[in-house]
């Protein structure tokens, strides 16, 4: 037999083995490239000298900013989730946190990706009391939001005098009694992405309270107004061609928010047409993912194209722009007359808003914490509290322009 014929005879088996061996391997190898699991980017809040933050190992942590010690931490129970790809069965997954803790008196409230709203009593926590003491107790509760397949909470909670407002991935908005977690009302007919109420989708932008109304922006390009008291959909709603990426920010009677079409919109409450959209001509280089901030008639907006824009709130005209070079994911914050912006690479830019307009665009200080930042952060009394993607809290001193101190969120009690 000639070598050629011998080769041709062996070829089918070789091919068969190559296909059988390679196909699953290639398909498995592409698993990691396609998706990222929900790891969370919890925000940071400071209240009465205590820093509150979620951690990527599924805990809510309280750190004393004076002693730099852990006051308490609460571990959220892991959730079981179906395995993806070629693996079968279910796996235990750490609960991710995306929302920012909100504090009211002695209680810290936070929403979780496992679909729970937690109310944690600071005093009881620091005394290591069992949680929850009672479901309808006076001081601690957890509230699973229904048993919907997809009920993750990504948005920040909105808080009024006596209620919490929760937007969920199941497309519903809830009002919960602050003391007990009981449901005041729920709104389940907000058409998010699909008209089919049985299959609603993500409501990841945070609801915002303005007067007696709760405003909700959606990924299908609507702004809805709900009665704070009853949850009823009010007469006015706004519709845009593209979906809204960022949570609404309200200044007087105007809503400012970013869109998937790479514009920032200003919408007068009650109007069917946008007051303006920015930029005027061609769209920005990417989405306005982070909520903007408004100060004295100027809107400051960070964009995923790496730029910070200062825009006149009335006209939408650009006052200045600054190119940070890296995507701006976290919403900017104000501290006195300072605008603080952090880009994704962990560089903190401080702008002096009391300076002349032409000088405002040049950052007063540039401080690097040398770790990626995606979470919302807060600033107080000259210090900026930032959770880095390495799961540490960085406390940046604006005066000295340095990282004053840092603390890991993975420390044990």
């Amino acid at each position: 037999m000639t070598p050629y014929l011998s080769y041709r005879m062996k070829q089918p088996k070789i091919l068969f083995l190559v296909i059988i061996a390679l196909l699953p391997l290639i398909l498995v190898s592409c698993l990691s490239g396609g998706t990222q699991s929900a790891g969370g980017w919890p925000g940071t809040t400071v209240h009465d000298g205590i820093i509150y933050a979620g951690s990527t190992d599924g805990r809510v942590v309280a750190i004393n900013s004076s002693t730099k010690n852990l006051e308490w931490s609460y571990s959220i129970a892991p959730v079981t989730a179906p395995s993806s790809g070629l693996s079968c069965g279910q796996t235990s997954v750490t609960t991710a946190i995306y929302s920012k803790p909100v504090v009211d008196r002695d209680i810290v409230y936070i929403g979780t990706y496992s679909g729970q709203v937690l109310a944690l009593n600071m005093l009881a926590r620091s005394q290591n009391l069992t949680f929850p003491q009672q479901r309808y107790g006076e001081w601690e509760w957890d509230c699973p939001i229904e048993n919907a397949k997809s009920n993750a909470i990504v948005a920040n909670l909105a808080m009024s005098e006596d209620a919490l407002y929760v937007a969920s991935s199941n497309g519903r908005v809830y009002s919960l009694v602050k003391g007990s977690g009981d449901e005041n009302w729920k709104r389940e007919d907000i058409p998010v992405l699909t008209e089919n109420a049985e299959r609603p989708e993500k409501l990841w932008t945070s609801p915002v309270i303005h007067g007696n109304t709760l405003y909700v922006s959606t990924y299908d390009g609507h702004i809805y107004a709900l009665s704070l008291e009853t949850g009823e959909l009010l007469d006015w709603s706004f519709e845009s061609e593209a979906g809204f990426t960022s949570s609404p920010v309200i200044d007087e009677d105007t809503i400012f928010l970013g869109s998937f079409d790479r514009y920032l919109y200003a919408v007068k409450i009650g109007s069917d047409v946008p007051m303006w959209k920015f930029p005027e001509e061609k769209p920005a280089g990417n989405w306005f993912w982070a909520s903007p901030i408004v100060n004295e008639g100027i809107v400051y907006a960070g964009c995923l194209d790496g730029k910070v824009y200062a825009i006149e709130a009335q006209t939408g005209g650009k006052l200045w722009e600054f190119d940070a070079g890296n995507a701006i994911v976290s919403p900017p914050v104000l501290m006195d007359n300072l605008l603080i912006v952090t880009d994704e690479s962990g560089t903190v830019y401080v702008f002096d808003l009391s300076a002349e307009l032409e000088d405002e665009a040049a950052p007063l200080k540039v401080i690097s914490i040398e770790v990626d930042v995606r979470s919302s952060f807060c600033a107080q009394e000259g210090l900026v509290y930032i959770r880095g993607e390495d799961n540490w809290i960085y406390v940046v001193d604006i005066d000295s322009g340095t990282v004053s101190w840092k603390v890991p969120l993975t420390i044990e009690e």
Partner: protein, 246 residues
């Protein structure tokens, strides 16, 4: 290397898929079907070559059966003569496998595109921002509706319907194109492959997002239709193998 992959294949597939979704009334499922048609059109020269090869094999069957009768008792001689016949006609009995192998990068890109486009986690949505072109048509389509017919395109089909369709259509397509072999060893390999591949893809359909399985199913159906019209019939689906005929 990964960035080159995304630049050349991953991101173009993702953006075309999203743009198609916008053009097709926001129906992501229709976009996948549309992309499948585009991929089949692009790979048409290769498919045509494979179909020609398949048709030539089919036309050669009387000659192969003659050889079978002539050298039935001398397997070595039979194989030599059969291979000689194949070589003279310039056909490869396993030529139908190459289009499948060449489609592998498209499957991977499509899998990644489906998962990225549907953005099931906030991280995925943020990642998507960096992969989209600045085309209006793309940005206005985001976010996508993941529901199509009974399917959530980011999740496996819970009702096994798609697995049966993918496995069944793959079996029919392979059966139509796979020439019966005279070599008993080759015959058993071919038989095994004829069963293994549909079973494996049926199994993969249960594990992977139904959007990818939808691509497989539509691609197979298009393959069956083109094969039917190009070769003028059901090909080897109605043929009996030489061993069965003896």
């Amino acid at each position: 290397m990964i960035e080159v992959w995304h630049l050349i294949i991953g991101n173009p597939v993702l953006n075309v898929l999203i743009a198609l979704s916008h053009l097709l009334s926001g129906e992501f499922g229709l976009a996948i079907i549309g992309l499948t048609i585009v991929v089949r059109l692009i790979s048409w020269p290769l498919t045509k070559r494979q179909l020609n090869s398949s048709k030539a094999l089919q036309d050669m069957q009387p000659k192969i059966q003659e050889l079978q009768k002539k050298y039935g008792k001398n397997q070595q001689k039979l194989q030599q003569e059969t291979m000689k016949l194949y070589k003279e006609a310039g056909v490869n009995p396993l030529g139908c496998l190459w289009p499948m192998l060449i489609q592998l990068p498209i499957w991977i890109a499509l899998y990644q595109a489906i998962m990225r486009a549907l953005a099931t986690t906030p991280e995925n949505l943020l990642d998507l921002a960096n992969r989209l072109y600045s085309w209006d048509i793309v940005n206005q389509a985001i976010p996508l509706n993941s529901h199509f017919l009974w399917l959530d395109l980011g999740q496996p089909d819970p009702y096994f319907i798609l697995a049966i369709i993918v496995g069944g259509t793959m079996w029919v397509q392979q059966k139509m194109t796979q020439a019966p072999s005279v070599d008993p060893r080759q015959q058993s390999t071919s038989r095994m492959m004829l069963m293994m591949m549909p079973l494996m893809f049926g199994f993969l359909t249960l594990m992977f997002p139904s959007g990818l399985a939808l691509y497989w199913a539509v691609s197979n159906i298009i393959g069956i239709i083109t094969q039917y019209f190009f070769t003028g019939g059901w090909g080897y689906l109605k043929f009996r193998s030489p061993s069965q005929s003896t």
